[in-house]
């Protein structure tokens, strides 16, 4: 699709706009509709659009698999880590009050961190799902083990017959 100038130009305009909008949905979720889940999906849509228009390889190049895995885990850990932090500060798991002297500020900070964790993981998982369906890497690896196993079994049979 990258040969079509219309699609290319529109994608180039849209991608940064989508990312910015995702960040707005993410951080304005405190005050209005939105939040981590929705923002994550919008953010991931930017990456998916990039890979659809400019091709699988370039999409992967912008956001490598290893980095994506780290983003997935980092989001979960940010969520859980916020909870652990409140426990270390002497309150129950996810009691945001502990995060600040002022309970309201604590709740604000807590939900901000947790929602950011949600957003990060959701965005990264969406991208991972897209690339998992578009690519075939892990599938090939799985079957390599099957072939190796079948080969080993055939050899074992062969030696047994000899």
């Amino acid at each position: 699709m990258q040969d079509d100038p219309v699609i290319r130009v529109i994608a180039k305009v849209l991608i940064p706009t989508m990312m910015l909008f995702a960040l707005y949905v993410q951080f304005h979720g405190d005050y209005g509709p939105g939040g981590g889940f929705q923002a994550g999906v919008i953010f991931a849509a930017a990456f998916i659009l990039n890979a659809t228009v400019f091709g699988f390889n370039r999409g992967r190049h912008v956001w490598p698999a290893r980095l994506n895995l780290m983003a997935i885990t980092l989001g979960v850990l940010l969520y859980g880590g916020t909870g652990v932090a409140t426990m270390v500060l002497g309150e129950n798991f996810l009691s945001y009050n502990a995060l600040s002297d002022d309970p309201i500020a604590g709740q604000h900070l807590g939900i901000l961190l947790v929602e950011f964790g949600v957003g990060l993981t959701v965005a990264a998982v969406m991208v991972a799902l897209f690339f998992a369906f578009a690519g075939r890497v892990s599938h090939v690896r799985l079957l390599n083990k099957t072939r190796a196993h079948e080969k080993a079994q055939a050899e074992a049979k062969g030696t047994a017959n000899d």
């Binding site: 850990l77 652990v84 129950n92 945001y96 009050n97 099957t146 017959n161």
Partner: protein, 494 residues
Amino acid sequence: MMQHLPILQVIVPLLAAPLIALLRGREIAWLATFIVTGVTFVISLLLYHQVSESGARLVYEIGGWAAPLGIVYVIDAASALVLPIVTGIGFVVTLAARHLVTAEIDQRDHPLFFTAWVLTIAGMLGQVTTGDAFNIFVFLEISSLSAYALVAMGAGRDRRALPAAFNYLILGTVGATFYVIGLGLLYMLTGTLNLDDLAVRLADIEQTRAAYMAMAFIALGLFLKMALFPLHFWLVPAYSYAPSAVSALMAATATKVSVYVLVRLMFGVFGIGFVGISDGLGTVLLTLGIIGAFVGTLAAIVETDLKKLFAQSSIAQLGYMAIGIGIMTPAGLAAAFIHLFNHALMKGTLFLAIGVIGAQTGRATMRSIEGAGRQIPMTMTAILFGGLALIGVPLTAGFISKLYLIRALLESDLWILAGLTFVSSALALAYVWKIVEAAWLKPRPEGAPDLHETAIMWLPAWLLVIATIGFGIFASPLINGAVQAAAIFFGGQS
């Protein structure tokens, strides 16, 4: 730190899982998993100790929000009994996973494999710990989704693992959907999802058709998850084509947790006084339980693949648990809890021992174990002990289960069912004898590959054998625990 134990039970594995996904290098992922499962085991023992010592419920308010509004985690006699089973089996099976997973899974997939492994344990622990009905659904999905992935990893040895995992996914999702539909109806009726609050409010409202529907949907969804006959078709392929370590973990724990959730919702939320429970559900469970016991045992007798054989026998054993619940008395429920505990030990033993054979021959069949009794005596003896416990031979934990089950049946004047339970247990002798005959009485066929075993391979299975015999001889702590667990669901009646 002690007051945080209920939440640590769940978040230690839950937060360790993403970290394990990032690990690289030989065996590090396994080592991390081993440590995490060890820590969860210790936490569950501490929790059991706290609850049995004080006799009180431990309630943990997440986020500091109190019960009906916030989500609370509750440890009472019943959950404190089930947690050590899940974590203990998880710990022992992880010990065995070292060689089983090295043999069956590509090295590069180990971190993700163990991530799913820890997640499925975390999901099961969450279902047991939480006091919120929707939270149960979330953890049900966490454990199930990771379990589907784990079963599919069996494709490294046998591609039939892929359709097995897919069927499991479809049926498991149907089950979870039914559960959530029922929950939706309950939420519509009562406006709450907290289990204790639901129980109070359901008692207040008149027994409506919507409440019956909610009960039916929840029960049906959980029947599917616990593989009660005739909803068991996903179980046999899923357990038999999964990697050996996964079969052992799931056969020993996954369905048990669903049994626990069923008890928790039916008795803890609807309550024995709810009309549909005492007559409707009881009859259904007794009928399906005894049919399942016969169908599973007979299918196991004709089966020649060992993993499938013991998966079929799981159907029968789940039937006994269903009978125990279906009696609708404290004694019956206690028998179900005892059997839940003991069956986890037996099936853990059997699938770990079969894994030793499977890792070497691909599939453990009646042919591949011919004469194996002399080549791998420790492994085959572990299978023998597991089999004897399944029959219910005295001095094994299985005897205690059957004893209490039949006694509970007789107390309720269910003579025919007690007889049928006895007959179907005795029938288990047929398939155990088949294995004994193949392993010890037949010579090793010409040209069959030599089997070997080392201490590290048979030790995990033997740990569970020792536990099986230990709980068969010194059964009183378990029986007391089960009786206490059953008592909390009949609190209003006794």
